[in-house]
Amino acid sequence: MQKNRRHVIKSIGAAAASAIGAPYLNLAHAQGASIPIGVALPMTGNAGAYGPDMAEAAKRTAAKINAAGGVLGRKLELFIEDSESSAAVAANLSQKFINVHKAQALVGYWGTPEGMSSRPIAIQNKTVLMVSSAANAITEGDTQGYVWRFQMKATDWGIVISRATIDKLGFKSVGVMGLQNAFVLPIMKVFEEKMKAAGRTVVDSLIYNPEQPSYRAEVERVFGKKPDAVFCFGLLPDFVSIMKEVYRGGFDSKVVALSIMADAEGKFVQAVGPQVAEGIRHFQPMPDLAAPGYKRFLQLMGAPADRVYLFPPNTHDQLAIAALAMEKAKSPVAADWHKEIIAVGNGPGPQVDDIAEALKLVKAGKPVNFQGAGSTCDFTPNGDQIGRGMGQWIIKGGKSVFVEYAKP
């Protein structure tokens, strides 16, 4: 019976196939000269602020690689699309990249929803997916080596933030407010564990929804308990409302947040004004600004030496690593080159932070340990990135002042 049905279904599939045309070949070189790469970036929604710079970084990086003779003598061809910070859109894009453009590498994927929705598609089609999303779930389980995170894992954020809090900031009692969001919850969890372990009291911890009419009740509940500091993990819109509420509520607990909330390219201070923002500390995974790789990236972007890019360096590194791995595997097919990612990222080999040089070495068959712009590009076998750190800032007079850089 079971067999029977399967047979029937199969024949339906076959019928559909013959009706629509021959099945395509899932091979890049069937596609000809250039090597297609799908780039899904957030131009819309809560991360809309970051998309454009990431796109620019991708273009310039690809240009540099192509100028250096391309990969396997072929040029990289980017297909940049807007993920709209939406899981469904990202999934459709991934399908399109793989099926229409025959892409073997999917890069960008800023948010966790985008990453999560594209993950099964990538694995099924044996295509490498490179994300900037933080949620642990992205790389959990069997990814068959096709999913790679170019970002600190959410739990590591919690570790860095809690350590800074315990060692430097010395808050005795804290409250925690978190947006109902995939990458926030693990941060909260680890943070609270660490705080309790260090004998600090967590007076209250609550989760709120996006797009609530007001956050009055939440603020009342947490700040009302008068902790030394309240740690707020969420996104820009909700944080704006919350801080206005806090200020007008006359609460005086210190506030600690993430840079995507409290800085967001200056949008936060614009929205609430400097006096409300005064004294807020914010953390964010960031490149090591001192690293030569980052300096080189600034040149590539033609940006001033003090410019802080949070995510574009990841996009740069994603393309670089992909290019190197392809070159090393002598094949543009993901099924071959995904095995080489750790080899080019972690070494062994001389540390090189210039993609052009690195390509030369690999073409010459020499080993290389690529040092990226966003991190040292070292990976764990299951695709998590290590060697990326977190920056800490404090808002003074409407400006974010850099405090320190720390790795987990």
């Binding site: 559909a16 395509y24 809309g48 929803p113 099964p120 949620a135």
Partner: protein
């Protein structure tokens, strides 16, 4: 390109099924459903959870989802036992839909909250080669779409179908004719709900990953547009309407290349504005849509 078209047509298929459901509830039964998104999400989650948590196969998961959404919709319809004014009912559905979305977002223990449910298995995913699979999925979707269409066509032509329209035209009359209007309304909404459940399960099977951000109000706008364009009550029209609207939606993405000055924020805004304008324009100038509802020839 061809395979992209295939994937698009799969999306059109389950969008069309969703539109058919709305067409039955609102187009034929006159029961406005502004909670569509929520019920759709409920269907998707029910199916996904039945597969992931209860290990049911796709077939039973879909059935389960249909049952769940059907029952919930039926209960919602019961609220109207005192008032049959549609405006009240619309508000209730709006609220319930919102509540369902909040549940999906906040009940982490069940729905994994904002993280969403990943790795939703596909029917015969292992026994069909990946590069063949889309054809199978398309075939399946087309079959389900046709099945739904045939079923609704049958219902429409049945005595119950007449009762449904009677309830829409004037529930008082229907009542005085000795028909149990409340019970009829419950059944109308439940049947529609079951179909929404089907569409929802297809959504999860297609994306293999669902999270709350996938279920936004664009779904409602889209479905109403499809129904109105297709002509309230006309099944075939609704399907075509769904197809057209979907093509418009996806097509509008290419506006980006046409007008480079627009950022994608504005594009997605334009997309929805187009739908809204189209919706109102149709209501004003083509209230009957482009297709005729089935009428018993007297």
């Amino acid at each position: 390109m061809i395979s992209f078209l295939i994937l698009m047509s799969i999306v059109v298929c389950f969008s069309a099924i969703l539109a058919l459901a709305l067409n039955f509830q609102w187009g034929q039964g006159g029961m406005v459903n502004f909670g569509l998104t929520g019920f759709y999400a409920l269907g998707a989650y029910a199916a996904a959870l039945l597969m992931l948590k209860a290990g049911a196969n796709t077939f039973f998961a879909a059935l389960g989802a249909m049952a769940v959404v059907g029952v919930v919709c039926g209960l919602v319809a019961l609220i109207t036992l005192r008032v049959t004014e549609e405006d009240y009912f619309a508000i209730v559905t709006l609220g319930v839909g919102e509540m369902l979305r909040l549940l999906a977002l906040n009940e982490d223990w069940l729905t994994k909250g904002a993280l969403g449910l990943a790795g939703i298995p596909r029917p015969f995913g292992d026994s069909i080669a990946p590069d063949q699979y889309q054809y199978f999925l398309l075939g399946l979707s087309l079959a389900l779409l046709f099945g739904t269409y045939a079923f609704l066509r049958l219902v429409t032509r049945s005595p119950f179908g007449r009762l449904v329209r009677a309830v829409r035209e004037d529930d008082v009359v229907a009542a005085t004719l000795g028909k149990n209007v409340l019970w009829a309304r419950v059944r109308i909404f439940a049947i529609g709900g079951a179909i929404i459940g089907l569409a929802g399960s297809m959504h999860s099977i297609y994306y293999q990953y669902i999270d709350p951000t996938q279920f936004t109000n664009i779904v409602i706008a889209y479905a109403f547009m499809a129904v109105i364009a297709g002509g309230r009550g006309a099944h075939l029209g609704t399907i075509l309407g769904a197809g057209v609207v979907m093509v418009l939606l996806e097509g509008s993405r290419f506006l980006k290349d046409a007008i480079p000055r627009l950022d994608s924020d504005q594009l997605s805004a334009i997309r929805i504005i187009i739908i809204g304008v189209g919706l109102i324009a149709l209501l004003i100038w083509k209230p009957k849509g482009f297709f005729q509802e089935y009428r018993l020839k007297a």
